[in-house]
């Protein structure tokens, strides 16, 4: 009996036979399957107690109410709120995916940082908050010591009128710099048009839900215009309970979602919306369909008049009759004359017609004359301050803070005026012109700008002609970013003072854009900050305090919350409002009650406390139909002919003829026409012979297009003929593509005089012939793998002209050509 091979085999056979009558093979089979069910690398979300907290979304100026579902201290889901009047339901997809902007360490700055590598390299070093604050404080103090505080420039993208914006501007003023600039948005254009025609500083308020005929001039109602939660909800209502009662007509050059889903799509040549609006006005006049009572009693400059100097002035009506007959407008816009007449008739015959403007989402500014033309159209049908029209409001009674007390250094700095020339003779109506900064910095050898503070903005990505900003930032000595995100602009910064992101941050949401009644939301933090970030408001206050007496005196608050609460003094003392909404009757239904509202709070403290829980103050009341004393224009009337433009031109004409002034303002019209809404042919640097197509950047609701990055979830909703791997698609009409010999999916270079980007061709019957459409919101060069190098950013090749009169960038008229690669 030796252990030879055969016996060993027998031993093994015995073993194999034996093992099968033990649990081992069976349990291992079972356990290995169970192992695959519990792979250690598959995350197991921890259990805990569920809770929901409500707050307000600040990812766009729309300010939807949101509810955040939490498991213990983790936020797991964002949902819409039914007790918030802006959006009685879900928010937009960006808001829905917001948690991905909170819990992603690759796109966030988790602590203050200092640049160590070359600019733009993204090489940063961790520093402490003390070091960070001291670095910036030292820089600012240095500027004051050198007596050039005006070399401090801020680029701010926080919503207009928000406390954070106020504090930043205040810091600059206290320092002695008037160079506070803002990222231009549709709100700026609205503001200017409002001032010029209505004399009113309140935001443009559209009584959408009460209108029965909505004529939108390129406003992307379904692409995120205004407060998306509100507009989409209204849309559902128009197609639901109110089926057939409200008609929607979309003026657009492309079969966008809004155009397709509207009752009627009026296809216009890109950029000719103003001409169409004026053509409609012409029909209203010739067919006598306009509101004669309103024009007679409350308007100025419609009929001919004799001015004080005895000159006979033709007026708006004459301008319409002369230049905007349907046949002419048809040639300008490509819309058949008969359709113009029919549309005008339908519009005028509606009970509550409302014309809208603001290109796309309104994240970018629009054309001032176009906005004025649309406003004029509303006025012609008597739609100003009428139920279902454009409502005229005063500014919110939020406390503006006491005036800045400038010390000697500051006063000297402030006297030097603004670098960008906003408010100057050339740009009399602009408040800030960030688009002028690059040329100012780049043209001089030593830049007049020393330090730039960037707050809630990503100019390198979001502004048209972004290349110029990159060159500017390469030259500016010191850049400070408050961005919580590793965005393109932050990558250029020398110092990062990361802000909290929205769910960690206390913020006021001032009047969601386009809303027809005053509303302030309070976006409360729903979780403790995840990282070592700091509220930008607190940083600004801290900085001011660190800069010593002259500056610190203007910042009497301990922290942002205190400053914020102080602003609500105005609300508490002003017209009564409500701090809760039960969701039963929408405010737009009850608004007609006039001013008859009883405040549900007693004092500032009471209001503040109630706002902490409901996150809301609003005033669902409006004095419809009141027009007397409404308009704060020099004539006290709605001005079809803006006397303020006339005045500005006159003031300047001493320095040359009016024609010269107009030329400087970029206005091609001459004489009285310049003071009235009119159509200005888009000017573009590109020669149509070499650049045969017009580039139309368009926005999508399922991509964030402002400074906020898109949550990765959104890419599930992007089609593969919009983005495929690293390529975004340029939409072309099949006919246009055929002429250029391009096929679906083909890679092309989109070239403009300003640069070129790569894209693929997407054939779309709904694209206007002769135009090339590129989506905004793709083509990041910063952030993480989910966002970086995906698609192209059309801003890079846009050659922004100046919008006539407003001075803001005109980004809708760049010409391009496509080259196969």
């Amino acid at each position: 009996m030796e252990l030879n091979r055969r016996n060993f085999i027998k031993f093994l056979v015995g073993g194999v036979a034996g093992i099968h009558v033990t649990p081992l093979p069976w349990k291992l089979t079972d356990d290995s399957a169970i192992w695959t069910q519990n792979w250690p690398w598959v995350p197991v979300p921890p259990e805990g107690a569920f809770a929901t907290e409500s707050t307000v979304c600040t990812l766009c100026p729309g300010g939807c109410g949101i509810e955040v579902r939490k498991v213990d201290e983790r936020t797991v889901k964002i949902e819409g709120r039914t007790d918030y009047p802006v959006n009685p339901g879900g928010p937009c997809p960006v808001g829905m995916g917001g948690l991905q902007l909170l819990c992603n360490e690759d796109i966030r700055f988790t602590r203050p940082m200092k640049r160590v590598g070359p600019r733009g390299s993204g090489d940063f070093k961790d520093i402490t908050w003390d070091e960070a604050m001291e670095a910036l404080r030292g820089r600012l103090a240095g500027l004051r010591e050198q007596g050039r505080p005006e070399a401090l420039v801020a680029i701010d993208g926080s919503p207009r009128g928000s406390t954070q914006a106020l504090l930043l501007e205040r810091l600059l003023m206290s320092m002695g710099s008037s160079n506070y600039t803002r990222i231009p948005s549709a709100e700026d254009t609205f503001w200017m048009a409002g001032i010029l025609m209505q004399g009113n500083e309140g935001p443009m308020a559209f009584d959408l839900e009460n209108a029965d005929f909505i004529l939108s001039f390129g406003s992307g109602l379904l692409e995120g215009w205004g407060a998306p939660g509100r507009v989409l909800n209204a849309w559902g209502m128009w197609r639901g309970e109110q089926k057939g009662k409200t008609r929607i007509v979309q003026v657009d050059s492309r079969a966008s979602n809004t155009a397709s889903k509207a009752d009627r799509w009026v296809a216009v040549k890109p950029g000719t919306e103003a001409a169409l609006a004026l053509g409609l006005a012409h029909v209203l006049v010739t067919k006598n369909l306009y509101d004669r009572a309103f024009v007679r009693d409350h308007a100025f400059g419609f009929e001919p008049w004799e001015s004080s100097d005895g000159k006979r002035r033709a007026g708006f009506k004459a301008l319409l009759l002369e230049k905007y007959a349907p046949s002419k407008v048809s040639r300008m816009t490509g819309v058949p004359a008969a359709e113009i007449e029919r549309l005008a008739t339908d519009f005028a015959r509606a009970r509550a017609p409302l014309a809208l403007c603001g290109k796309g989402k309104g994240d970018l500014n629009g054309s001032l004359y176009e906005t004025m033309a649309v406003l004029a159209l509303n006025a012609l049908v008597g739609g100003i301050n009428r139920r279902g029209g454009v409502l005229v409001h005063d500014k919110l009674p939020l406390d503006p803070f006491a005036a800045v007390e400038a010390d000697a250094i500051a006063s000297a700095g402030l006297r030097k005026g603004r670098l960008d020339g906003a408010g100057s003779a050339t740009f009399p109506f602009a408040q800030s012109l960030v688009n002028r900064l690059p040329e100012l910095v780049l043209k001089s050898r030593s830049t007049p700008v020393d330090t730039v503070l960037v707050l809630a903005a990503n100019p390198l990505y979001t502004l048209p002609g972004s290349g110029a900003y990159r060159r500017m930032f390469e030259k500016v000595p010191f850049i400070v970013s408050f961005s919580p995100y590793r965005d393109e602009t932050a990558m250029m910064a020398d110092l990062i003072l990361p802000d909290h992101v929205f769910l960690e941050k206390l913020q006021d949401v001032v009047w969601p854009s386009g809303l027809q009644y005053p509303l302030v939301g309070l976006s409360r933090p729903v979780i403790e900050p995840l990282y070592r970030t700091r509220h930008a408001g607190d940083v600004l206050i801290g900085l001011a305090k660190g800069l010593g007496e002259g500056v610190a005196d203007n910042f009497p608050w301990e922290n942002f919350e205190e400053a914020l609460k102080e602003r609500f003094k105005g609300i508490a003392e002003g017209a009564p409002g409500l701090t809760s909404f039960d969701g039963s009757t929408p405010p737009w239904e009850t608004m007609a009650s006039g001013g008859d509202i009883r405040a549900d709070y007693e004092s500032l403290d009471d209001l503040w406390e109630k706002m902490q829980s409901g996150g809301l103050w609003f005033r669902p009341a409006h004095a419809y139909g009141v027009r007397n004393g409404l308009f704060k224009t020099p004539t006290g009337r709605f001005e079809f002919f803006s006397t303020q433009i006339e005045l500005a031109l006159e003031e300047q004409s001493q320095h040359g003829g009016t024609d010269e002034v107009l030329a400087r303002m970029g206005v091609s019209a001459r004489g009285d026409e310049a003071c009235m809404p009119h159509f200005e042919e888009a000017s573009s640097g590109g020669d149509p012979a070499h650049y045969p197509l017009i580039l139309v950047p368009y926005e999508m609701i399922n991509l964030a297009s402002g400074w906020i990055p898109s949550p990765p979830f959104l890419f599930k909703t992007i089609f593969d003929n919009q983005l495929l791997k690293q390529d975004s698609f340029v939409e072309l009409n099949p006919e246009t593509a055929a002429k250029l010999n391009l096929r679906q999916g083909q890679r092309v270079m989109v070239e403009s005089p300003a640069g070129r980007i790569q894209a693929r061709v997407s054939l779309f019957e709904g694209a206007a012939p002769g135009a090339a459409y590129l989506p905004l919101g793709l083509g990041h060069t910063a952030y993480d793998e989910f966002l970086k190098d995906k698609g192209a950013n059309p801003n890079e090749i846009i050659e922004p002209a100046r919008d006539p009169l407003s001075g803001l960038p005109a980004w809708w008229n760049t010409r391009v050509r496509l080259r196969r690669i």
Binding site: T36, Q37, V42, P45, E47, R74, T75, V76, K77, E79, G80, N87, G89, G90, P91, C92, P93, M96, G97, L99, Q100, C103, N104, E105, D106, L222, P228, L232, N233, W235, G236, M237, R239, G240, A255, N257, K261, W265, A267, L530, N702, P712, F713, L714, K716, T717, I718, F719, D720, L724, K725, N733, E735, E765, G766, A767, A768, P769, D784, F786
Partner: protein
């Protein structure tokens, strides 16, 4: 004994009004966020990306300027029949390991990831492409913090298994649990709705019990404008669509020439 399609206790279903739907994609995002759906670096690979609620874009194909686009949001249809008259859905009959079943009490087609062996037969059988295979492990790179938003109510999937829309059945469980806490056994119409229904800003989606005549869905599903996707295949989906537009209605199914009967 097999119960007929109408004889189960509940038959949860959905009605999507395509006239209201704006194609914004909030439903798809809400679904992904609610259900811990994995997001990959390249979501443009539509053949392999996962979107339980997938949105299909359709156009009427007419030349400029008569072009129109519309959208079909497509969750799992939770079919009631397999197309051959059996009271089971096309995917359920074929599943080898009983990983997917049609629950007779709720009408929901369940999918158990830990049971699924990943043979993908169900995907082949589903004409709606509502089923998704996990070609990769869920993507949560280390140290990125992305897994912090995962909800414990839905189990994250491992690679190699099929997943699909579940009508947010965990919300049904949530509602039931809450009802139990309040000493109730039955739940109300609004207590259980899916994440997409809740999220839709245009209120285009309605969810409820098709067996309950009081629920809005059972009324809407009987509307003359109501139709289902690929109805002729007799899979009896529980997701209905509403549209007044004939070209949209026509694209919901295959028709021989002259077979389609327009509404107007």
């Amino acid at each position: 004994m097999e119960k007929g399609p109408d004889h189960g206790k509940h038959r949860y279903g959905m009605v999507i009004d395509l006239d209201k739907c704006t194609g914004c994609g909030t439903c798809a995002v809400a679904c992904a966020a609610e259900n811990n759906v994995s997001v990959r670096q390249d979501e443009s690979d539509k053949e392999r990306s996962i979107s339980w609620m997938q949105i299909f874009k359709i156009t009427n194909g007419k030349p400029y300027p008569d072009t129109e686009v519309s959208y079909f949001p497509r969750p799992c249809m939770h079919c009631e029949e397999d197309g051959h008259g059996h009271h089971t859905s096309p995917c359920v009959t074929v599943c080898v390991a009983t990983a997917t079943k049609l629950d007779p009490n709720s009408g929901i087609v369940s999918q158990i990831y830990t049971r699924c062996i990943g043979c993908r037969y169900c995907q082949a059988a589903c004409p709606y492409k509502a089923r998704y295979f996990n070609w990769w492990d869920a993507y949560f790179p280390k140290g990125k913090g992305l897994d912090r938003y995962l909800t414990p109510e839905v189990s994250p999937r491992m690679r190699g298994v099929v997943e699909k829309c579940t009508f947010c059945h965990h919300r049904l469980m949530r509602a039931k649990t809450r009802a139990y806490a309040e000493d109730r056994r039955e739940i109300e119409e609004d207590e259980y709705i899916t994440a997409c229904t809740e999220a839709c800003p245009a209120q285009a989606i309605t969810f409820g019990d098709l067996n309950n005549p009081k629920h809005r869905v059972s009324r809407l599903a009987k509307s003359p404008n109501a139709f289902r996707l690929l109805e002729r295949l007799n899979t009896k989906p529980k997701v209905y669509y509403l549209s007044t537009k004939d070209w949209v209605r026509k694209l919901a199914d295959n028709y021989l020439p002259d077979e389609f009967k327009p509404l107007s």
